[in-house]
């Protein structure tokens, strides 16, 4: 197997990595906002339940959560698992886990907006939803970009955890090739891919951050 073959073989797994990555972002970024709202709810029951769920999601290994999502339906309900369930369960597991982290980031962002912004909006007669969408949300987004970037970078590397349910993403493929050919090169190649991917993400996020720097 030439170096070229190794690279192509690993690249074949990168599609799966990208699928997990983009699907997770697509679902978890908005879901996090919903969870953040529930977490800040004035209803004590909703607030406590969500706080508890967040603590479970953040307090147990993502790897464990992925296994539970994948095997849970079989062990708990005795369902026969469809072939597609593997990737679906991974995306569910990642999205919900990351949504919990994003929710806490959003919450801190929302709560860091000075009360005076709400008061000025109230006196001017803005409704609660106008106040949130026009005044609070845009300022919140600016504040959460740096911590969200951190999470996104972690997500890229975490996609490798999908190997626990034998999903053929990039890292799983690299490991298989490394084991079959007794060479460490595939792992370096995979590492390089993660690095380049992260470099791109950091670059894009920095651009986004800059686009918000017109005000303080």
């Amino acid at each position: 197997m030439t170096f070229r073959d190794i690279v192509f073989k690993i690249l074949s797994g990168s599609g799966a990595t990208l699928l997990i990555f983009f699907s997770t972002l697509l679902f978890s970024l908005p879901l996090g906002l919903l969870i953040a709202f529930a977490r800040m709810s004035k209803n004590k029951v909703i607030r406590s339940v969500i706080t508890f769920i967040i603590s479970i999601l953040r307090g147990t290994p993502l790897m464990l959560q992925l296994i539970v999502w994948f095997f849970g339906p079989y062990y708990i309900f005795g369902f026969k698992l469809a072939a597609e369930w593997r990737v679906v369960s991974i995306i569910i597991g990642f999205s919900i886990n990351y949504a919990a982290y994003f929710a806490e980031i959003y919450r801190s962002g929302i709560q860091s907006i000075p009360i005076g912004q709400y008061e000025a909006a109230s006196v001017l007669g803005y409704t609660n939803s106008q106040t949130f969408t026009k005044i609070i949300l845009p300022q919140m987004i600016k504040r959460v970009i740096p911590p969200v970037t951190n999470e996104i970078i972690t997500l890229i590397k975490d996609t490798s955890l999908a190997f626990v349910v034998a999903y053929a993403e990039m890292f799983t493929v690299a490991k298989q090739v490394a084991a079959a050919k007794t060479t460490i090169v595939p792992l370096f190649v995979a590492g390089l891919f993660y690095y380049i991917f992260n470099y791109l993400v950091a670059f894009i996020m920095e651009r986004i951050e800059k686009s918000f720097s017109y005000y303080r």
Partner: protein
């Protein structure tokens, strides 16, 4: 015509009387200064007038229309069907009343992500549903009056404190309120910028705008306000003609307070 009237207003925080039986009236074109030491209840009073806080008992009216009535010793706001604070904050009937007044804060509270012009224009358009053309014309007129037409496209962070406060005043004016409240509008500013803001407020007074100003600037209150209300410990101790009251207070407590400013 009475623009605003509050009667027997009571407010407690954690069982401490913050406001006790406050009554006063503002007529059209009148400028009223509220003075008193920190913790006397001045700011709480303004917050109640602007629905940022809600009174426990008393009555309130804007333009001779009742907004709060007293029912069995409890304040009842119009359109109120639940006692919860949350329900009061969402109360649509109160939102309609809000277009009667404007409030200028101590810390300006401009929206930092919007340009000066957008800060002034957005609420008239998206809350009062006025036409963009009309609002833009007014906004530019008020910014010009505040000497800030050249800053229309700047962001608040690019302005000095005095300029930010003038934008906040333009923002309040553009809503075309019947009465404007000022909550210590110069307390966050240095002496030079303070004069800049006082000059603007004085101009508004000359135009016979109805205003209620909470202030620590005694000279300003004396020379610009028609009437002064002196508050201490949640009650109105003395009220009267601004010039006379500040030069010649009758009550002992007022004298002691004013001595600190000599």
């Amino acid at each position: 015509m009475s623009i605003f009237e509050i009667k027997n207003c009571k407010k407690k925080f954690h069982n401490v009387n913050v406001l006790d039986d406050i009554s006063f009236k503002v007529d059209e074109g009148e400028v009223i200064a509220i003075i008193g030491s920190s913790g006397s209840g001045k700011t709480t009073l303004l917050r109640i007038c602007t629905f940022l806080d809600f009174m426990d008992d008393g009555t309130m009216s804007y333009i001779d229309k009742n907004v709060v009535t007293s029912v069995n010793g409890h304040a009842k706001y119009i359109g109120q069907n639940s006692l919860s604070l949350d329900a009061l904050k969402k109360n649509k009937s109160l939102t309609a009343v809000k277009s009667n007044f404007g409030l200028v804060f101590q810390n300006f509270n401009l929206f930092p992500h919007w340009t000066v012009l957008k800060n002034v224009m957005d609420a008239p358009i998206s809350v009062q549903k006025r036409s963009e053309e009309e609002v833009k014309e007014k906004a530019m007129k008020y910014l010009d009056k505040m000497g800030l037409s050249s800053k229309a496209n700047n962001y608040p962070c690019q302005l000095s404190g005095g300029q930010q406060q003038r934008v906040a005043i333009a923002r309040a004016l553009c809503m075309e309120p019947k009465i404007i409240y000022f909550d210590e509008p110069t307390s966050a500013l240095d002496p030079e910028l303070t004069q800049e803001i006082l000059k603007v407020i004085k101009e508004l007074a000359n135009e016979k705008r109805t205003m209620v100003i909470v202030t620590h600037e005694m000279n300003f209150a004396k020379n610009v306000a028609d009437r002064v209300i002196f508050m201490d410990n949640g009650v109105i101790v003395e009220e009267g003609n601004a010039y006379e009251l500040i030069s010649n207070p009758k009550m002992e407590r007022t004298k002691r307070f004013l001595q600190k400013y000599e």
